[in-house]
Symmetry: C2
Subunit: 279 residues, 2 copies
Amino acid sequence: MASQADVTTNFFDEDTTLERTGDNSFSGFFHETWGLAGGTPNGGYLMAIAARALQETLDHPHPLTITGHYFKRSDTGPVVVETEKLGRSFTTSTGFARLIQDGVQRTHFTATFTDFDHAVGQTIVHAEPPKLPAPEDCIAHPYVAGRSPKFQEKIDMRFHPDHMGWAKRTPHGVGEMAGYIRFSDGRDPDLLSTLLFADAVPPAVFNVVGPTGWVPTIELTTHLRNRPRPGWLRFRFTTRMLTRGIFEEDGEIWDSEDRLIADSRQIQKLMVPRKGVDS
Amino acid sequence: MASQADVTTNFFDEDTTLERTGDNSFSGFFHETWGLAGGTPNGGYLMAIAARALQETLDHPHPLTITGHYFKRSDTGPVVVETEKLGRSFTTSTGFARLIQDGVQRTHFTATFTDFDHAVGQTIVHAEPPKLPAPEDCIAHPYVAGRSPKFQEKIDMRFHPDHMGWAKRTPHGVGEMAGYIRFSDGRDPDLLSTLLFADAVPPAVFNVVGPTGWVPTIELTTHLRNRPRPGWLRFRFTTRMLTRGIFEEDGEIWDSEDRLIADSRQIQKLMVPRKGVDS
């Protein structure tokens, strides 16, 4: 298998490229590929761009935890990223990145970085990768050109056959979505692409209420736990608590060697209020 | 039972009071009561202060989600809070609060506010309050003056008898901590005190690795779901994934009428590296 150093540059790396324009400022471009209907780029894509800017700003190389707040719509087009150092300890450093388009701040990100190659400490994991049939027995994303998010063309995603109710508009009522994920060109995963994958799967809430269209993210936090080894990643996303159209989504991502790579949580909203019991 | 309007002012309200000093600036004081050993104030206490400043800044009255990043140590003493409006929709508004001591920014908070009294939308909750014996059959916090965090004197906390291994230094190996919580003076809960309670319980990881002392929070996000009704709140905190001394803690808080009040997640670190398997 390829080592970490052999990961080759692909479309994702190119589409998240930044040019340094000052000590703590960068210019980049939100590519149309990563936009949803209407052009708003995927939240995990924005997070990967913010993480790249912070990687250039901070004294540690690897994101350990990163939080994004999506308070104004972003669009396809140029973006300015301004970063700030916030704090530093021996093992971690924390920074802030503001993503600005047309002079208006649209999103911001706070991240703590570490060095996974030197980090030490106790490890006890009471969790397991999702139980899945082999990739060839799982169901590919039912991509429909012009209707599905364009970036699904760039990602190879295979779902547990029991979790496909959303695609047939017969949700089975349980907020769960598990499967395999990788880039469609076979490029192996790394920490930055894990940030993308943590927000690239159709929302697990679609298996509760059906596919409702765009569900905007208010806040997304991803904790990274290990640098992924080559091969398929496996994901499991769950939503248990929908209150007045607002819901959390919890994620876990595991690598081909059964190592935990990331856990994530986001809070999102259904765009169309539906009839239901308010408590 | 008392209605929401009858909630009386208590020590918590007094200790989180802010004075407005400008359009978007406030002055306050971190009281010793809410400090851990060494004086660092509790992270939920800081979050409640930030939420009060944002409540005065934003156009909606109730916190829906708030994230804190704790990148430098805070201390007992005066604090300046500077706020900023970030975005607004019809149903929510988002703002940013920086907490500054001695001219140095120590923590920051991003929050989205809403109006729970007018919010509408679908509600489906696939989760239940923790199963607990009656409060009188649960175990009170084993408070030791001079050793336990001082604020435990101000909070009445009762633990599930099965979750007390940490206090006897015989952790049973499962990262779970469930019980009842309220103010010791009987003041009923509200949204701001829920932010405190979401970070006031001894870490669930103590039931995995034993009580290790202070476990600093890197990032904490609390989602609020409903305004609590009077009476005891019930909590359940869990930690499943400890990797190289870094771990998440997930929380749920329920009210006396079995309504979900909050879910929270934080990422923390054990201060003393211990022997274990790194993966």
